[in-house]
Amino acid sequence: MSNSKPAQVIDEHIVEIVSDSGEGAQKCGQTFGTIGAKMGNGIWTVEIIPAEIQPPARSPAGASGNRIRVGSRYMTNMGNEADLVVAFNEQVLFSRIANGAYKNGTIVLLESKWASDPQEEIRAAYTQAVKEFREHGLIVHELNFEVECLKLVDNARKGKNMFALGMLCRIYSRDVEKGHSEIHNAFAYKGDKVVKINQELFDAGYAFARDKVDYHYEIPPYTSDVKAKPMMVCNGNTAVGLGVMASGMDLVSMYPITPATSASHYIAEVFDKVGGFVHQAEDEIAAIGFAIGASYAGKTACTITSGPGMALKTELMGLAVMGEIPLVIIDVQRGGPSTGLPTKVEQGDLLSSLFGMPGDAPKIILAAATIAECFHLPITARKLAEAFRGPVILLTDANLATGVQPWERPVLQEEWLADPVDQSEWDKSVPAYDWDETTGLSPRPIPGQPGGMYVLTGLSHTNRSKVAYDSDTNQTTMEFRSRKLAALQSTLKPPTIHGDESGDLLVVGWGSTLGAIDEAVDTLRAGGQKVSSIHLRFLSPLEPGLKEIFARFKKVMTIEINYSDSVDAPLITEENRRRAQLANILRMQTLVDVDCWSKVYGHPLQPGELIEVLEQRLAALNS
């Protein structure tokens, strides 16, 4: 093949690069995404991550890489099936096919060195796989990248990723200079020599694709002037890290857990310059204990974890509720229960965040829907934790954690930062919990303040924090702690409706599904369907006005990434059906017969899949 045809202009493409773990496909994909963002395209990237660090080579379970959706408009989700795939071996593609990632017509640029492997089984497996891929409708081009890379490096495992990046940059008419400069950014810490060899690999890949690949596209930028609004591009965990720092919190206490840890890695990298500290505790319980101690004695602290860590932290979260200690708990949700799916997405921690502890423990729960919100909500959470004197849980998930999207660069505000620790004299006549009758709110004394001495306790206590087991004290203080949520809700606005204010079907979502839901709703609306959506950021307390909004639609349903019984599953009845988590809460709080659709596939929702589901529901409504 030789290619001198002009580039075909397209609106968007979904590109995947898949390899064995350790071959650098993730770095290639991230860099390709960043170059796209810098050229003014909308992008959304999703990591393809095996659960093990070094899974066996050439195994479907070991697929590692990146999916990049790049287009001429703002991208909010990973889209449907891929258009073009670069694969370093054929086996890793089997898991992607099983995940429904490819369609009839997906182009696969496949490393062909396996066809001449010295081992007969490998040669046979390769030939068989290519045959199956073609039967499946994939357009497979067998190309020997290895040979080209070996002209420049001794070990093609180290370097093939930048060769592939060069190929993709040629195929998608990316700017070569931008490619070189991203390679520089990625490898500068390893020295000039490494930068140079990777740039040479990139150039070789670019030339190879020009000469050997018959595909050549152009994806115009979605805005003519990218510089008009300063943008940033990073994943959700990095955005969380930046948000934590911008909130003025100066202590993050954590224990390593996937997929949350990279947020703490990022914070640890720069926190010393911002004036903060990451404490790695001996376990999840000690991590929250340390954060609570720090919050009690000073500024609001933060702990970042995922589902199993949330479970371990439960008892101390209860102490923060009872003792009214401001605290920000960030839960980057993964698949559960138990160890579950450590690297995959799920929205499974909503009910456990809300109810997962003994007694009544009212707390504020927020959920980020976009990468920008991963930045902004820690700031909101810190303020709420202090104003409402208690723990705030911020839910994100594995999809946001590793997803990359450009977002508007925030202008940092001094008012976002926490006030210095108050050490002025406390008016002795004011008790440690001077609960306001209407709101349940009270100011808190901080150790070091003369006159404010009190003993914080998890036991039932009076306004002076004296242990009290009597009936009235327990009843009234529980009322005060609960009332704080009603007080917060009274300050919130009803959610914005995406689409018409009334109609046939209302879809309610929360968290990282926003982009996929909106895209599905928009497509259906363009086809004349009366479907709208709302997306909740406040889960506790719920945003107000829901019952009234629900009344304007024939049917309300949630779309979530967590488990629910299908209506048509064996033995399932209206009474025993276990519904998706938000659906339960909405039914409970509004008495509206809210339906749901949810799956635990472990991957983000595809708009195409949602369109099918919603079409069925709409058809049933109107039949």
Partner: protein, 317 residues
């Protein structure tokens, strides 16, 4: 007085603290409980140090001894079972100016809190950790604790505790970066005072195991020790705890032991015939974690914003 004008020192005298300033509500332990002696000693050490009560924080877990913060006039944090130490470490993390005390027990520290015990000793944050060891669970009414001697009859082991007791001294000494390990009994006030005073003066985590009387549930643990002071060996050294002559008259088996000598400390800690009293080990130069955790604090809002902006530049497009 002394030729200096009185108003020069007025502030100091206005804030002279008495024992009452460090005490809170009336302590409600059982009559004869050893905890009273420790509480009174803590009050005395604070009064003698003349620390403003608002600068001290008493942190505890759950159990009889963990009620101590409620009987202090300082700030207090009565936490959860086994979690006193992480909470106390958190208090100290960004507030090195606060004077931190931890009250914990043999169940709270050596059983449910065993993980934090090990890691907190290693963090070596500046605080006094008083372990009230009565070899029994008191608040939950007489269950076997890790330090219950073999054969002690309890509600969970009515035919006697089946295992050899855990040795908290050898374990604590075995933790890297341990800096102050002492053992004392609640029923000898001068030794208790000198030991806790030395613990308070040490910068780092001062681990003090207090053999403590529980006349209600584990009388057989301390009673024989009280009656036979010859079961103890009192450690004496100029680098150790100042010993009152009265103390030496009670515990007449006195041995010289330099608390810098770790191997010697381990030998006394392992001795099954004689129970060591006093300072076993002291390393004044161990790493103190708040020197790390609070190192970068104190940036102005402007500096913070500049630094975060610089961090964001790396992701700018």
């Amino acid at each position: 007085m002394f030729g200096i004008k009185a108003d020069w020192s007025l502030d100091v005298f206005e804030r002279y603290f008495t024992l009452g300033d460090y005490s809170g509500g009336e302590a409600r332990w059982c009559p004869g409980c050893g905890d009273f002696a420790v509480l009174n000693t803590v009050h005395r050490v604070l009064r003698d140090a003349q620390l403003p009560p608002e600068k001290s924080v008493a942190v505890s877990g759950i159990g009889c001894s963990s009620r101590l913060p409620h009987y202090m006039g300082t700030y207090g944090l009565h936490g959860l079972h086994g979690r006193a130490l992480p909470l106390a470490n958190g208090v100290k993390a960004h507030r090195p100016d606060l004077d931190v005390w931890v009250a914990t027990g043999d169940g709270d520290c050596f059983s449910i809190g065993a993980g934090p015990w090990i890691h907190s000793v290693r963090l070596n944050m500046d605080m006094v950790v008083l372990v009230f060891d009565n070899a029994i669970y008191g608040l939950t009414k007489k269950q076997t604790s890790p330090t219950s001697p073999t054969g002690m009859k309890t509600n969970t082991h009515p035919r006697g505790a089946p295992l050899p007791a855990l040795n908290p001294l050898t374990i604590t000494l075995g933790i890297s970066n341990a800096s102050f390990v002492a053992q004392v009994v609640d029923w000898n006030p001068p030794l208790l005072y000198q030991t806790i005073k030395a613990a308070h003066a040490h910068r780092g985590t001062s681990f003090v195991r207090i053999l403590q009387r529980c006349p209600v549930f584990s009388n057989e643990f301390c009673k024989p020790l009280q009656e036979h002071p010859d079961k103890f060996v009192l450690l004496e050294h100029e680098n150790g705890i100042l010993l009152d002559e009265a103390v030496k008259r009670v515990f007449s088996d006195v041995e010289r032991h330099d608390p810098r000598d770790w191997l010697g400390a381990m030998k006394f800690a392992r001795d099954e015939q004689r129970i060591p009293l006093g300072l076993l080990y002291h390393d004044p130069d161990a790493v103190v974690y708040e020197d790390i955790s609070a190192r970068d604090l104190g940036k102005s809002d402007e500096e913070k914003i500049v630094a975060i902006n610089k961090a964001m530049d790396a992701f700018a497009i």
